[in-house]
Point group: C2
């Protein structure tokens, strides 16, 4: 099947609206016709989303009968039209905004898949990802996303240590890819840990995300089979007037201390530099994936005051208990009127802070998950923790060793699965992800 | 904890835009201050979504480095600001547009919960649902949705046959609530079937939906415990220029033949009439919930032509194989040039058609689901089938008996769980769902 153009195919650099409640945010991006090498620029004519602030219908208030469809579907807006380019110095899906829907998968190579077969797989996958992220129908399309725009779809590929061994490249295993140590409080399910190949799919539309997973599954064909798959979510674009405030399923504001792209030290913390080792990882990053179940029934039985003491931040607005607002730096030395530390000795923000971990910094970009009930009736829900860094030995591992020994939060979470992957830099349109490893 | 107003609280009748790709659709609804009895109307000043079609930033195209955040979060739009009223003649979540995220749950009463305890639970639940759907923080809030607008949240409650028996009201069991018969091809997991109480939660933001589930879980307290929970999704508003076209995970356009609210016969097909039997179900409906796993690996191995023959519609646009476009009525008698039936004898649309089932009509309003991998490596994914009707005996049951005997699609799906609930009409602000049953 050749690549066909989807309805409302677009391609272009996503816009970056200011995080202000009065800024229009879902404007249609400038589009580029995406089909077959065609690069004619055009403006989307689908109308985007609503216009004037004053455009509001009369509300009746009070009781209505729900006798008619109350809320028809919305046509294409920036949510659907936005495309995140697949090609580049780095892979997409790392510094981009985390989308509303995410799938994390690992694949294992099937017996008989050698370096050549792995290279062919990565080429098929990269070509399909490039098409889908631009809003085009890929080879092997299952067509579940046929009518949708790219919806900020990103596809990110990584290699496990076992992959390099399997394709005869054990001599190229990066030092940074050494297995994570065992941590004191983890209860890992090996069947949902590790894996040869990592795939992260994110999109603001669930069908677009799921279709991408199915396409990649089909293209894996006889070269690799799925090992595990996890599905998660983040807040939908447009759901809140405070879009920079992300809450996890515990209700706590999360990610405040994340490093910010463009600020000093960000690239050094997250990406392997050009000229770094090994050469095939230049522009790449290392990703730690952890399935962290939250004991929500227990957590929600705590008073808000006790929850705040466990975390070290106010629940309502994320301000550190040392004072200020969400963006105020945490003052680990601050004491209350009674002389006690404002932020407890075992508070999560203290134990996880860079100051407590020799400056260890990573970019957390995870998804919440809710997979129904466990056999014991407790919710199977929590955080798909996804952390990006230039070297996990001096970032995730350093922080997690500390957390596993003295974090008040640890009694309310269970680390159930874990994986570490080397995520190469991005590729050119003529190449594929991993080409510098597999062709070099 | 008293009810507190959330950021961007709104309340009002959602607008009903025409299903045209050029109609603005996510305009902010007119808001009503939602806190503490306050009913001051106000216009949201959050800007809604983007304005002019011409408002587009220059696209760079080609490779970019992803070195900066490519796509900041969007502030509040109609997606977050839209509120669907909880009170009314019918419950919400039936004729409204199916939201992007959905949770289906059953609870079982705990030993010792009598009619009085059940009534207290339904009052707590109804009050919390009324608050949350209006964008207010309910009693028992876990605060994971604290910064979000109501995001079209709906909460819908139903009663299983076992509920009526447990609270001493076996004499009020509706005839229409008789257990569904066994169907030929089902493989039901009883632990994920049936249940005393049904809760359907839907919202266009995943955290809003999940928080509502947690709040209801907390309020169940010692009266009821969760029996099963399933989580699903639909297309995000704004993801497509063809918003009326819903595809399932098989890639097939689904729901074309659904009855349309406001058209003749709709209310009679879906709702128990005023004056109907039993009196406590006036304005109510019966919901059939089925977890239908799709054998996607098998399905996707078929050619598109074979997939279309199984369904009876073209995959690309949903047009029946008897000709026309998606909205053209299916012509079951049409024959091709070779004299063969255009729509095969065992095609899904033929076997499920009202004409094949004495006019049986139901309103399907389901969610897709994707719960990772099964132990055999196949995807645990498919359809959370949710169908609404005035009497399942002459609607779902009639159709499913036929499907289970001769539907070509049946070899690609597995019915894994099943439940039937009586969903009473809506309540007044002073009442609660089920009050006419439990107080009567």
């Amino acid at each position: 099947m050749s690549e066909k153009k989807r309805t409302a195919s677009t391609r272009g650099k996503p816009r970056t609206p200011a995080p202000s409640a009065t800024t229009p945010a879902t404007a249609p991006a400038t589009g580029e016709g995406g089909g077959g090498g065609l690069s004619r620029r055009r403006l989307l004519t689908t109308g985007g989303a609503a216009g004037a602030v004053g455009l509001a219908l009369g509300a009746t208030g009070g009781a209505v009968g729900h006798a008619v469809a109350a809320d028809s579907p919305a046509p294409l807006t920036g949510l659907g039209a936005t495309a995140v380019p697949f090609h580049g110095v780095h892979q997409a899906g790392i510094t981009d905004r985390a989308q509303a829907h995410g799938h994390l998968l690992a694949f294992d190579l099937l017996p008989g898949t050698d370096r050549r077969g792995a290279a062919a797989l990565m080429r098929r996958w990269s070509q399909a990802a490039a098409a889908m992220t631009a809003g085009r129908s890929p080879d092997g399309d299952t067509q579940a996303a046929l009518d949708a725009g790219p919806s900020s779809l990103t596809v990110t590929f990584g290699f496990g240590r076992s992959f390099l061994t399997a394709v005869g490249l054990a001599d190229r295993v990066p030092e940074a890819l050494e297995p994570l140590p065992a941590f004191a409080d983890e209860e890992l399910d090996r069947a949902r840990s590790d894996g040869d190949l990592f795939v992260q799919v994110g999109a603001d539309d669930a069908l677009v995300a799921h279709n991408a997973v199915r396409v990649l599954r089909r293209l894996a064909a006889e070269a690799a089979r799925p090992r595990w798959q996890m599905t998660g979510f983040n807040r939908s674009p447009g759901a809140t007037a405070r879009p920079m405030t992300a809450r996890n399923l515990m209700g706590q504001i999360d990610g405040t201390n994340n490093p910010v792209p463009g600020e000093p030290g960000f690239d050094e913390a997250v990406f392997v530099p050009q000229g770094g080792e090994p050469a095939w990882m230049a522009g790449g990053s290392y990703v730690v994936v952890r399935r962290i179940r939250m004991l929500l029934d227990n957590w929600e039985n705590l008073s808000v005051e006790r929850q705040e003491r466990v975390i070290g931040r106010r629940k309502s607005d994320g301000a550190p208990l040392s004072g200020g607002d969400e963006r105020t730096p945490v003052d680990l030395g601050a004491r209350g009127a009674d002389g006690a530390l404002a932020i407890a000795g075992d508070a999560h923000v203290r134990v996880a802070a860079p100051e407590s971990n020799s400056g260890a910094t990573m970019l957390r970009r995870g998804f919440s998950y809710a997979d129904g009930l466990r056999e014991d009736g407790a919710p199977d829900a929590g955080l798909l923790f996804v952390a990006w860094q230039a070297d996990p030995r001096t970032a995730f591992t350093r922080v997690q060793l500390k957390l596993s020994r003295g974090d008040a939060l640890s009694q309310f979470v269970r680390h159930e699965a874990s994986a570490l992957f080397a995520v190469p830099g991005g590729c050119d349109p003529d190449g594929y992800v991993g080409d510098r490893l597999l062709e070099g």
